[in-house]
Symmetry: C2
Subunit: 131 residues, 2 copies
């Protein structure tokens, strides 16, 4: 995050997690989280992470991000928690995006996404990508 | 790794990294690493991680691993370093496998792979997958 912020204004917002006894309360958790997410989005270009989303390779993702960042609308990437993202949030997305066909834990998906954003913006700014 | 090892015998082998001034010496680095890798494989079912490989979702990967582990041959997952895997190693692979269409750093690819292996074996042993 710190590295991305050196190149491009950027915020990491964590909404309050919905609590409940896991699977059984899945719908309820997604509903609580959806409301918390809705409170934080306002006119952004919304990219929801979803295993049903479109996959891109790193070069295509960099092109996509370059195009989006040249627009006046900010981009919001939304990554669900344990229960996933509610239907309402997915419907609001401008793009459904998948990092992998595999199911990644929330924590790992977050790291992979941040690395790809950093990689894309570094390339765009002509900096060699450093691991 | 420790968690996987509780469920299934498993080793993490790191071969010596080829050193050289990055891009220019790429071929040489891959050659040194290929030799180091060859010294460590011996009859295993070899899965090379490659962005050109086949993608699987987590359920298919779990099925694949279950089938492989019921065989007498051990499975070796081979993950390249910065320079990637040499052609010779890729040719020796029984399967080329891709975690994502995106290019992941070596470190991140390793974590994603280990998480998927743990996830697959936990499911197989009827344990709920804990994050």
């Amino acid at each position: 995050m710190t590295r991305i912020r050196q190149l491009e204004p950027c915020d990491l917002v964590e909404v309050k997690e919905g609590k409940g006894p896991a699977e059984r309360e899945r719908e309820k958790i997604m509903e609580i989280e959806a409301r918390n997410i809705e409170r934080r989005i306002d006119g952004e270009y919304v990219v929801c992470l979803s295993d049903k989303g479109r996959e891109m390779n790193s070069a295509d993702f960099a092109l996509f991000l370059e195009k989006r960042l040249s627009d006046s609308r900010a981009v919001a990437f939304i990554l669900g928690g344990f229960a996933g993202l509610g239907e309402r949030i997915l419907k609001r997305a401008d793009l459904l995006f998948s990092l992998s066909r595999m199911t990644l834990s929330h924590e790992l998906a977050r790291v992979v996404l941040l690395e790809q954003i950093y990689r894309a913006i570094s390339t765009q700014k002509g900096r060699p990508y450093a691991k």
